[in-house]
């Protein structure tokens, strides 16, 4: 039996859609650099970016503008050292969440599976909450917050990874394990908030996602892990396609279901945990992105996974721009626009045409 590949029309759309998203992503990165609480002329932003990416020293960001050289230096710091790391973290975290969501939906053959449902995000939230609620290592909180969140996110992922080892553990059992862990972590989180309401504000910002204070180090870590782990995931499209036919058929065609399931759960956990550690909990991207892509290009995971990554990157980048523009100079938690924009868009796509897969 052939694995699902979708209708021919969908297959033909994959290339143009991927190209469109890639172009949109690059354009979005440049345009997003102009968005922030401080107004910086568009031409200056482009010149700063061109100079910093090595297109030559001929780009003078403040040429023709009546600003002091020191102000120009500050603009460079804002655009290149503050905004660009946040933009790149948004792109790679969006890609990670979308990839992870698509993978988990395929592994569990469940359209509701995503990092949030399986407790990975809740685990990260509990990790962060431990640090913030009990005011541990106050002087080093900025460094330790991602570490605690990463550790918290690994817990549910590894529990599900271990549970997947049992040959009689079906996808339903694994999903329900994740749901149970998620509920448990939510209860723990609520207890922490009840225990120390004063920590609630800082924690609530983190729980809804915050990209405001990213650094180049953050961006490098997220990008490195997402590119490496995401590539391994994206190359597993064929195995995921076969897994949709059930473990027995998958085994009969040489795809070891348990081995691939565990491997994909582990990779999804690591890329998600890394992203969430630096961004906080961002819902909806991991759930919606694969569905939207599937509606456009069909159910073939060889196409769904890489295109979902592109879509997730664009989606989170747009959401971050909106978060900065809705109530300036406040930067809203990015989880707010992802839901406000994503839900209507998703419902529109869902009811406009019959959904496909997973």
């Amino acid at each position: 039996m052939p694995p699902p590949t979708g209708p021919a029309g969908s297959r033909r759309r994959a290339g143009p859609v991927a190209a469109l998203l890639a172009v949109g992503l690059v354009a979005g990165i440049f345009l997003s650099a102009t968005v922030g609480s401080e107004w910086i002329p568009f031409a200056a932003v482009l010149a700063i970016l061109a100079r910093e990416v090595g297109l030559g020293g001929g780009f003078a960001p403040c040429a023709g503008l009546a600003v002091a050289p020191s102000q120009c230096t500050v603009w460079t710091e804002i655009v290149w050292d503050a905004r660009m790391p946040s933009i790149l973290v948004a792109v790679f975290a969006g890609a990670a969440l979308a990839l992870s969501g698509g993978t988990l939906q395929g592994v569990f053959r469940n359209p509701l599976a995503d990092p949030y449902l399986l407790g990975i995000s809740s685990g990260a939230a509990v990790g962060a909450a431990i640090l913030l609620t009990f005011q541990l290592a106050v002087a080093d909180q900025a460094t330790l917050l991602p570490v605690f969140a990463f550790g918290g996110a690994l817990v549910p992922g590894l529990v599900i990874y271990a549970a997947a080892s049992g040959r009689r553990r079906g996808p339903e059992s694994l999903v329900l394990t994740g749901v149970a862990l998620s509920a448990l972590f939510s209860a723990v989180l609520a207890t922490f908030l009840f225990y120390n309401p004063a920590a609630g504000l800082q924690l609530s910002f983190w729980l809804l996602g915050n990209l405001q204070a990213e650094t180049w180090t953050d961006a490098a870590i997220v990008a490195g892990v997402v590119v490496a782990g995401g590539t391994l995931i994206a190359l597993s499209g064929r195995e995921l396609n076969v897994l949709q036919l059930g473990p027995a058929i998958a085994e009969s065609v040489g795809v070891e279901a348990t081995r691939h399931t565990r491997r994909l759960i582990l990779l999804s956990t690591v890329v998600t945990a890394t992203s969430v550690a630096f961004t906080g909990v961002i819902g909806f991207v991991g759930l919606v992105s694969p569905h939207v892509v599937r509606l456009i290009v069909g159910p073939d995971y060889r196409k769904v996974l890489p295109i979902s990554a592109l879509f997730g990157g664009v989606f989170l980048l747009v959401a971050w721009d909106l978060a900065l523009r809705i109530l300036p100079p406040l930067a809203l938690p990015v989880g707010i626009p992802t839901s406000f924009v994503g839900v209507p868009f998703f419902l529109y796509l869902l009811y406009r045409r019959r959904p496909v897969g997973p």
Partner: protein
């Protein structure tokens, strides 16, 4: 040719684990390198101060442009004659009168503050605005998140000194830290430290007198607001506790598990504190709606059933750990011991 692909080798999982381990190790290595870079010595000619979080901070001496992100720090800056160097202050946005919600009218007029100085600092700090003002020094409290302090330091290269005292003596230490940063204000700082030390010594001597005699120490509950049936107070390890201790009171909040938290109204009713210090404001637009004696009387749970002395204190003196709080110690001593401590002349600072 077989239609079946070759089965994956037995080492697939272990290779995956290896890749994951390498990724994690690489991440830790990158982070470690960045941290190590941060620990490298900075430019010569700067002063290094240790702030209230125990962080060594390199900062220029006598910075000509400073950003102040808490009213309590502004009090120190003003008293040391450094107001003219302030190019930005933290203000709340999202509500009408962002500055008025952080600074009482008497403070804005005394310190010469206006909206043009405002930098949004709540719920998050507008770091781009801070950078655009090109300060040489940022003085912040722990209200500013650790991530944003790190961004100011790492991304914009701005020295950020955290001043968040947990005792009234810590307020004197903060004055000394600011004096280290501004030798130009050394003489003023020394005089201020002496007056603050004198106020603390005076209170300590009175406390010693109380503990040696047969005078009963009153139980005190300090509260600066109520919400959802709970009175908010200062727990152990806070300047609020230090204030009640020095004022000769036995704080009912000393045994709370957290530094800042709400206490169930029924618990306070059961304890029946002999003195209730509660924060009030007749000026601040938000606090007027929430914290006047009449609002406390009408809205605070079980307020009428609390039998102890209820003493209204301007919320800025009650909640901002600054020199004004220390200089107000005689008034607190009188409030808690009206028959033993002489009534101070004039009005609180």
């Amino acid at each position: 040719m077989s239609l079946n692909p070759a089965p994956p080798s037995a080492g697939t999982v272990s290779r995956t684990v290896l890749v994951v381990a390498i990724l994690v190790t690489a991440g830790v290595a990158v982070a470690g390198t960045a941290i190590a870079y941060d620990l490298l010595p900075r430019h010569a000619g700067e002063v290094t101060v240790v702030d209230d979080l125990g962080r060594p901070v390199d900062a220029p001496l006598n910075a000509s442009r400073i950003v102040v992100l808490a009213p309590s720090i502004m009090d120190i800056v003003y008293r040391l004659g450094l107001r003219d160097r302030v190019v930005g202050i933290g203000c709340t946005v999202g509500e009408a009168g962002g500055m008025e919600n952080e600074y009482a009218p008497n403070q804005t007029s005394l310190w010469g503050l206006n909206d043009s100085l405002c930098i949004t600092d709540f719920p998050t700090l507008d770091t781009e605005r801070v950078a655009t003002l090109q300060p040489q020094l940022v003085l912040a409290s722990t209200i500013t998140s650790a991530q944003q302090v790190q961004q100011l330091t790492d991304t914009y290269g701005l020295p950020v000194v955290i001043l968040a005292p947990s005792t009234l003596s810590g307020i004197v230490d903060d004055v000394a830290i600011v004096a280290q940063l501004f030798p130009v204000a050394a003489a003023t700082a020394t005089a201020l430290e002496e007056s603050l030390d004198a106020a603390i010594v005076n209170a300590t001597n009175f406390d010693t007198y109380l503990s040696n005699g047969s005078v009963a120490i009153p139980t005190v509950f300090l509260t600066y607001g109520f919400y959802a049936g709970e009175y908010y107070t200062f727990g152990p390890g806070t300047f609020g506790q230090s204030l009640v201790d020095l004022a000769g009171g036995d704080s009912l909040s000393a045994g709370l598990p957290l530094a800042y938290e709400g206490v169930n109204a029924t618990a306070i009713l059961a304890d029946q504190p002999q003195v209730i210090l509660f924060g009030t404001s007749w000026n601040d637009p938000y606090l007027v709606a929430n914290q006047t004696p009449s609002v406390w009387a009408s809205s605070a749970p079980y307020w009428s059933q609390l039998n102890g002395s209820k003493i209204a204190v301007d919320v800025t003196i009650l909640t901002e750990p600054d020199p004004t709080m220390v200089l107000a110690l005689p008034w607190y001593l009188y409030d808690l011991h009206p028959t033993l401590y002489p009534k101070p002349s004039g009005s609180p600072p």
